[in-house]
């Protein structure tokens, strides 16, 4: 493979003689219309979705929705146990996946020799893990964590461990990008002054990379909060009318509670599903906005 192949890039030549300038202008306008249309469709769908969920859920957006427990009677049903379940599960997920993922990223970016085969294998592996469908992590959780060797049952800790596996690749990839954005001169300056590699990482690189790492961490955690597929396999769909009392407690989470209500045959549950979706969306949008703010605030500093 040759390294400079610029001439291979513009594969087609633009024939100016055969096309009149009118038809070229028309094509230009048509193309721009296509671009605008795709943008409008993509963003319009989002607007329609948010409007639909909000209007359908509005009658049930009351304090009772949050304070009541799930119930077989739609008039009295709420999402208290789902909110507490989500807090427990996602809290533990973040507490485990963030240090693990950021640590792995620091190793790969700051300490590992990128040419060594073992490190290249790890890098390729993380990329592959990120593309594994989340339901497959559910299967792993079913076989290894809920049943099998760990045998933790259908509990809070099982759900949290599964979600750790789901979001770990995202945390690693986002943190690596943040670390890579730190200029090499900062490291060289620190090392030249006699700091060890770890001191350099700890006192120079990490503080500079914190905004990027924080953004990635918030986005990964919000992904864990919205995830439903892998938890379907580990008993989250059981009817839970109490808040988790510990790691070994049965649980439900917000996305799963919404799933239950959407798949209910009785249509009275539909506004409940929409209202619970609004609650979930508000939390997620809040997390997203925080992440974007953190990024914009610190982006220009380096």
């Amino acid at each position: 493979m040759t390294s400079t192949t610029v001439e291979g890039a513009p594969a087609r030549t633009i024939d100016l003689s055969s096309s009149t300038s009118v038809s070229r202008r028309l094509a230009d306008v048509g193309f721009l219309l296509f671009l605008w249309l795709s943008l409008a469709l993509a963003l319009g769908t989002l607007v329609v979705l948010l409007t639909d969920v909000f209007t359908e859920g509005r009658p049930r957006l009351t304090w009772e929705l949050i304070s009541n427990m799930p119930s077989a009677r739609p008039a009295r049903a709420g999402i208290q146990s789902a909110i507490f379940g989500s807090l427990w599960v996602v809290g533990i997920t973040a507490a485990i996946s963030l240090p693990l993922g950021i640590g792995a990223a620091i190793y790969l970016e700051e300490f590992a020799d990128p040419e060594r085969w073992s490190n290249r294998l790890i890098e390729l592996n993380v990329q592959n893990l990120a593309s594994v469908p989340s339901v497959v992590y559910g299967i792993l959780g079913l076989a290894f964590i809920a049943r099998g060797p760990l045998g933790l049952g259908f509990t809070v800790i099982t759900a949290a461990l599964i979600l750790v596996l789901v979001v770990l690749p995202t945390v690693v990839i986002a943190s690596r990008e943040a670390l890579r954005a730190v200029p090499t001169s900062l490291r060289e300056g620190s090392l030249a002054l006699g700091a060890t590699e770890w001191q350099t990482v700890q006192r120079q690189v990490l503080p500079a990379a914190i905004p990027g790492i924080a953004t990635g961490s918030i986005l990964s955690t919000s992904r864990a909060l919205g995830e439903s597929a892998p938890l379907l396999l580990t008993g989250a769909l059981t009817f839970v009318t109490f808040n988790p009392g510990g790691l070994d407690s049965a649980y439900t989470v917000l996305p799963i509670q919404i799933f239950r209500w959407v798949s209910e045959a009785r249509l009275e549950f539909r506004p409940l599903a929409a209202a619970a979706s609004v609650v979930l969306l508000v939390v997620l949008l809040g997390m997203n906005a925080t992440a974007i703010l953190v990024r914009n605030r610190f982006e220009k500093k380096l």
């Binding site: 693990l100 792995a104 893990l129 469908p133 339901v135 497959v136 299967i139 379907l232 997203n288």
Partner: protein, 317 residues
Amino acid sequence: MTSSPTARAVAPVSLRATGATRRRLLVQSVFKSLFGLAALFTILVTVLIVVSLVVPSVEFFREVSLARFFSTEAWAPLFNPPRFGVWSIVSGTAWITVIAMVVAIPLGLGVAMYLSEYAPPRVRSVVKPVLEILAGIPTVVLGFFALFFVNPLLVQRFWPFGTVSTFSGLAAGLVVGVMIVPTVASLAEDAMKAVPRGLREGAYALGSTRREVTTAVVFPAALSGIVASIVLAGSRAIGETTIVLLAAGSRPTLTWNPGDQMQSMASFIGFAGIGDQPTGSIGYLTIFAVGLFLFVITLGLNVLSIRIVRRFREVYE
């Protein structure tokens, strides 16, 4: 070294590791190995996935022959008598994926080309976060939208070919397509942004319009990244579970009508998992066999996308 008055307070310069330095190096090696272990953990995860899928699958294929698995028999592994013709759910997966790609490729590439070549910075700074919000909508909410909005109000009303049932592959596929638009858009935009400015300037200098620069210069130059973004988005469509489970129903059908109820491989896994199969039963083992199949397909697609980027990337400078 000249000794200034303040330098005297500092420890004497020596090339041997002193106590403090040695402690620092010890701290460093502790952290280094901790982080190394964290990195190694990712390998363990892959090993666990492979082991947990392969071991029960081997048991499954002892009871159900490969020939039977890939035969045109119906798919009903949880019924009595069970049937194991996997093509019904493979075709469901194919339908969902094809419909999703028909939505996501033009929309995603349109958005990417707009953002990379046309958008003024202010529009860009609004559109990018909004796309991230779309990417962050939970699939369960998208499933609600597909089942209660897209299917009854759009698909059932306006689909001109054939009947559309309450649960339809069409509605599920369309919404899965919307889900992966941000994936295509952001990866393809990255690829186009990476095309050097000199190429564009050369084309403009020759009298090209913006459209010609975009489609005849930037697009071909970024093709490897664009194809990789499509392959990755496709693998996400194949693995999508919740939207398909909610909106496409749970009856596997080998059909030519996309408006029919259908089941994909991923939505079968979710469906069977909800049913809480007893450990070791044939229904339980089927989850793993289908999971292994799904894992192999998505892994293959990912390897393919990495290869496309490496093999066909135009290297500039």
